[in-house]
């Protein structure tokens, strides 16, 4: 049996493509998110936050971060949107949703931004060395000693939260909100930001309970809140939840799918490696191809010995002369 190069590539492509398309659909129904059973969570009530930035200050102290260039009491930082970085694990941004107060002033909404601690985080899935882990108390935990600095977590995060210490040439770390893992692991411990919030805009508790609280708040004061808890379903649910009086699109919240980030990547990967069918198929095909070629080669070489044919094709190739033995020769070269 003879197989041309074109046919070989076509055949292989069809098989791999079929595997890619066919497999996830089959194993998707089997995808089990690695959500911890009863994690902690934080509910941020954006209608209460006054933008005092005490949470930023507390975060800075709790995590021993460098002192900021602009003081925590300086409201000028609100003039531009900020993102968490290596020096600040949480930031407050100011948005004007368009509401006006009694004195006809635009009513600001302050939005706290930090790692959302997804129930099934993309970063944990992307981390190839297990430096990122999802803890039972809800924290998406980073272990710097395991990290090799590939920064896949930064690519994988849908909220673009992890930051990297590019300035440190020797031991750079990925930095992000820790959910105050050590503090909340202790009995009665609270994250630094939630503990300090003077207006208790942040409520800390079991995610199950604060989700109920959020629903209760919205139900009791439907005029105050939009009927949505951001983070309840986004990317499979997050430990940090938000309720707001303005629509979340106006406040810089991303419109994200409800399925967890690892859903796609892990199902492809897991589909590919299920019962090792993909490598087995691939190597089977390759083996078959090699066997076919070997057979052909053996046959053609025995023929050429019999006919006394000299393999001198170069001049004829350049002249554009094509004959069947030539193509077999070329495949051999391949």
């Amino acid at each position: 049996m003879k197989i041309s190069r074109r046919r070989f590539i076509g055949l292989t492509g069809t098989m791999v493509g079929g595997a890619l398309l066919g497999k996830p659909a089959k194993s998707g129904a089997e995808y089990k998110p690695k959500t911890p059973p009863d994690p902690f969570g934080c509910l941020v009530d954006l209608t209460v936050c006054v933008g005092c930035r005490k949470c930023e200050q507390a975060c800075n102290q709790v995590n021993h971060l460098p002192s900021p260039r602009v003081s925590f009491e300086d409201p000028r930082v609100f003039e531009q949107r900020r993102r968490p970085d290596v020096g600040a694990f949480t930031v407050i941004n100011r948005y004007y949703g368009g509401k006006r107060d009694e004195r006809n002033q635009l009513h600001p909404t302050f939005v706290k931004v930090q790692c959302m601690h997804c129930q099934d985080p993309g970063c944990v899935s992307a981390c190839i060395v297990g430096a990122m882990t999802k803890k039972d108390n809800g924290a998406t935990h980073y272990n710097a000693s395991k990290c090799i600095g590939c920064r896949y977590c930064m690519v994988a995060c849908p909220f673009q939260i992890p930051a990297y210490e590019y300035h440190d040439p020797l031991f750079p770390r990925v930095r992000k909100c820790t959910f105050c893992y050590e503090r909340i692991s202790k009995e009665g411990g609270k994250p630094g930001c939630a503990a300090i919030c003077p207006v208790e805009s942040i409520t800390f508790g079991k995610r199950r309970q604060i989700l109920e609280l959020a629903r209760h708040k919205i139900k009791n004061d439907p005029g105050r809140y939009v009927d949505k808890i951001y983070g309840e379903h986004e990317v499979g649910g997050t430990s940090w939840l938000y309720i707001s009086g303005d629509s979340f699109e106006k406040l810089g919240f991303l419109d994200l799918p409800t399925r967890p980030i690892p859903y796609l990547s892990e199902t492809i990967q897991h589909g590919l490696f299920n019962y090792l069918w993909a490598p087995l198929t691939l190597f089977g095909i390759l083996g078959a191809v090699v066997a076919v070629i070997n057979r052909q080669q053996n046959r053609s070489s025995s023929e050429s010995v019999q006919e006394g044919h000299q393999p001198d094709q170069d001049t004829q190739d350049t002249a554009g002369l094509q004959e069947k033995p030539d193509s077999s020769k070329r495949e051999e070269k391949l």
Partner: protein, 700 residues
């Protein structure tokens, strides 16, 4: 939380210890004073008392440390249902037990120590709102429990899983206060509007080697606080001149002040006397007129920010610190200013001793309500009232033209300060439109220590004269300064005042016919902005140029100064040279008077003037009864005599005995009234049934 309680305990122990130490010191002090009668002026701390309002701050601290059991079940009812249930028993302002709280509770976990606890004027807020249920919005489901409970009965630790929808005490306080302040656009919403700011420990932050020079310290401060250095460079405490918006005719000037044109009848003027006068300057080395006011490194940060109570300036050192002061230690212990740091200069005005101000003296640092309710009873620091922003300290004075903002009693106490529905409060609040708070609440000044009220420079220079001492041990004569009069518990002079002042400045012509008034409040009985204020009047006799008719500047201290040469001619010639005004060579002695405002030493209602003290008409049999129907159980006579007259003050301050039962406290005729306004009518209105209207009817 346990740590918090422990800290509280330690704090309480510290307070108790401090009280013990203080009382032993006090005993030691008084015995010293008795044994050494020759001591110039033993600082005699006022007697300690155990009156309930005496140590309100201490009581409030104890109250704030209480933790009550959590109320879990609330009575589900709307405010109107609650009113309907209570009927006549809706709580009123009169039911308030405690009018002052310190919002500090062990529940408020010490997550941060950036700010100190809030002083909360409970009754004031209740009076403004006139509705207890705004704040006390729920009650316990247990109907036996009291109707009104404290905040911490319902709001305790945050995130309590038992009551998930209940916010914690920290959030409850902030939401309630800020929510209301925002809604009504009244009251502060920023952190430092209510909280005092805690300064972090500078022990590790200050990087100095031992024995630094004063400017080294300032440079070290500026390393982080450069902006604050810039702020100081434009402050009046640095420039000694500034905007004079409350000086009549000079509202737009920014060059008036001690450094330029202000003249007084104490040590007269700054020119040529720099090293002495500038020992109270917030800077180092203002020895000459050409001091560099743009050099930040010359700022003296420590004079205001010292917390060790060991920093002081050298008496004739042009602002340089005393060589004995350990600057290294002081710099590592900087903090917020307090009464002592401010008092270092302001209690020593005029100079050295509490001479100048009728109101500010070191006694204000003692805990006694009978000297001052704010600083004594409530332990307020100066900056609690004199709000400071960008190192510009609000407050105005009559003695000086500069003002970096204004402070009035009404800023905290509102224009209707007497809370409650009683008729008396209504009348007292009507008074607030016409008289200042201090008129009644500061009936005598120099309560706890004597001040100078007269100073005669013309008699100075006689070293052989033996001074006599008065009952307080104050000499009637000093060769350096001449004859002087010291007084204690003085009745103020009353005058109309609209907040502005007329000012005699350097170079103004003196009054040859009579007394030259150096500072004088402006105001008139017909000016609705004017109120009757109490004043200290400082009399003096000082030199004027016989030819040019303006006051002369003496060169007093230092080489060739009057205290070395005792030669007036030379003194004035050098002084006027420095002041850059011609001196004719002839001088004369003229009488001068300064009005000085009395805004401190405020007393609580127990010591305030009673109605009859000023209104003789209320002593008659039919007093209030002329207008109001007699009600059973209400004795008008008692009402008119209620509050406190000097009988009570006398029990604490024996010197006020002569004022007991006096009724002529205010001379209405001198203020422009016909006589007692109750009978003859007020300045804009007449009481409908007053004597005047009765007589008018008779005439008809």
């Amino acid at each position: 939380m346990k740590v918090g309680i422990k800290q509280k305990k330690i704090n309480m122990m510290a307070i108790l210890m401090a009280v013990l130490v203080f009382s032993t010191l006090a005993v030691g002090f008084s015995t010293n004073g008795n044994s050494s009668a020759d001591a110039t002026k033993p600082a005699k701390p006022p007697k300690k008392s155990t009156h309930p309002w005496e140590a309100r701050q201490e009581a409030a601290k104890l109250r704030s440390a209480e933790v009550v059991p959590l109320i879990k079940e609330l009575l589900p009812e709307t405010p109107s249902q609650r009113r309907a249930r209570l009927g006549d028993k809706v709580p009123q302002i009169e039911d308030i037990e405690f009018s002052y709280f310190l919002l500090n509770n062990p529940i408020l976990e010490k997550e941060e120590d950036l700010y100190g606890p809030v002083r909360f004027m409970h009754k004031k807020h209740a009076g403004m709102l006139n509705d207890c249920f705004v704040c006390h919005h729920h009650r316990s489901a247990d109907l036996q429990a009291p109707e009104i409970t404290r905040c911490s009965a319902c709001h305790q630790t945050s995130f309590n899983p038992e009551v998930p929808e209940r916010i914690g005490l920290l959030g409850a306080h902030h939401r309630q206060c800020m929510g209301c302040h925002k809604k009504w656009n009244k009251g502060p919403v920023g952190c430092t509007g209510c909280h005092p700011k805690n300064v972090p420990s500078h022990k590790e932050l200050v990087k100095l080697t031992a024995n630094p020079s004063p400017t080294d310290v300032t440079k070290e401060c500026l390393r982080c606080h450069d902006v604050q250095g810039d702020e100081m460079l434009t402050s009046t405490h640095w420039l000694w001149k500034g905007p004079s918006e409350f000086t009549e005719g000079s509202e737009k000037r920014v060059d008036m002040g001690k450094a330029t044109v202000t003249i007084n009848n104490f040590l007269v003027h700054l020119a040529s006397n720099w090293p002495q006068c500038t020992s109270c300057h917030a800077g180092y080395g203002w020895k000459e007129a050409d001091f560099d006011f743009t050099d930040k490194t010359k700022i003296d940060c420590l004079i205001c920010h010292d917390t060790t109570n060991s920093y002081k300036k050298a008496p004739l050192g042009a602002g340089m610190p005393d060589p004995d002061v350990d600057l290294f230690d002081v710099a590592r212990n900087v903090g917020k200013p307090n009464r002592k740091t401010c008092g270092e200069c302001h209690f020593a005005g005029g100079p050295g001793e509490p001479i100048k101000h009728g109101k500010l003296n070191p006694f204000l640092d003692f805990h006694s309500t009978s000297c001052d309710v704010h600083m004594g009873g409530l332990d307020l620091q100066c900056h609690d009232c004199h709000k400071t922003r960008n190192h510009k300290i609000s407050g105005r004075s009559l003695a000086l033209p500069v003002a970096e903002g204004s402070r009035t009693c009404e800023d905290c106490h509102t224009p209707v300060p007497h809370q409650g529905k009683a008729l008396l409060n209504h009348h007292l609040n009507r008074h607030s439109e016409h008289i200042s708070c201090t008129t009644c609440h500061n009936p005598v000044y120099a309560k706890c220590g004597p001040v100078k009220t007269f100073w005669d420079w013309s008699t100075a220079g006689d070293k052989s004269r033996r001074p006599k001492k008065d009952e307080h041990g104050n000499p009637d004569y000093m060769w350096e300064t001449g004859e002087q009069i010291w007084q204690e518990k003085i009745k103020p002079v009353y005058a109309w005042y609209n907040g502005k002042a007329k000012r005699h400045v350097l170079g103004d012509k003196v009054n040859n016919e009579g007394v030259t008034i150096l500072t004088e409040p402006t105001g008139d009985i017909k000016d609705p902005n004017s109120k009757i204020y109490p004043f200290k009047v400082m009399g003096g006799r000082q030199a004027a140029d016989a030819k040019h008719n303006y006051l002369l500047v003496p060169h007093l201290a230092g080489p060739d100064g009057y205290w070395e040469t005792l030669d007036w001619e030379k003194t004035f010639s050098l002084g006027m040279d420095a002041a850059k005004l011609p001196y004719s060579g002839q001088y004369k002695w003229v009488d001068t008077v300064m009005y000085l405002s009395l805004n401190h030493e405020v007393l609580p209602k127990q010591f305030a003037l009673s109605c009859v003290q000023c209104h003789p008409s209320l002593r008659t049999e039919r007093s209030c009864g002329q207008c109001h129907m007699d009600k059973r159980g209400l004795n008008f006579k008692n009402l008119a005599f209620s509050n406190i007259d000097f009988k009570f003050l006398h029990t604490r301050e024996p010197d006020t005995q002569k004022r007991v039962q006096s009724t002529d406290y205010i001379d209405f005729k001198q203020l422009g009234y016909k006589c007692d306004p109750i009978t003859f009518g007020g300045r804009f209105k007449q009481l409908p049934l007053g004597w005047h209207s009765v007589s008018a009817e008779k005439n008809e």
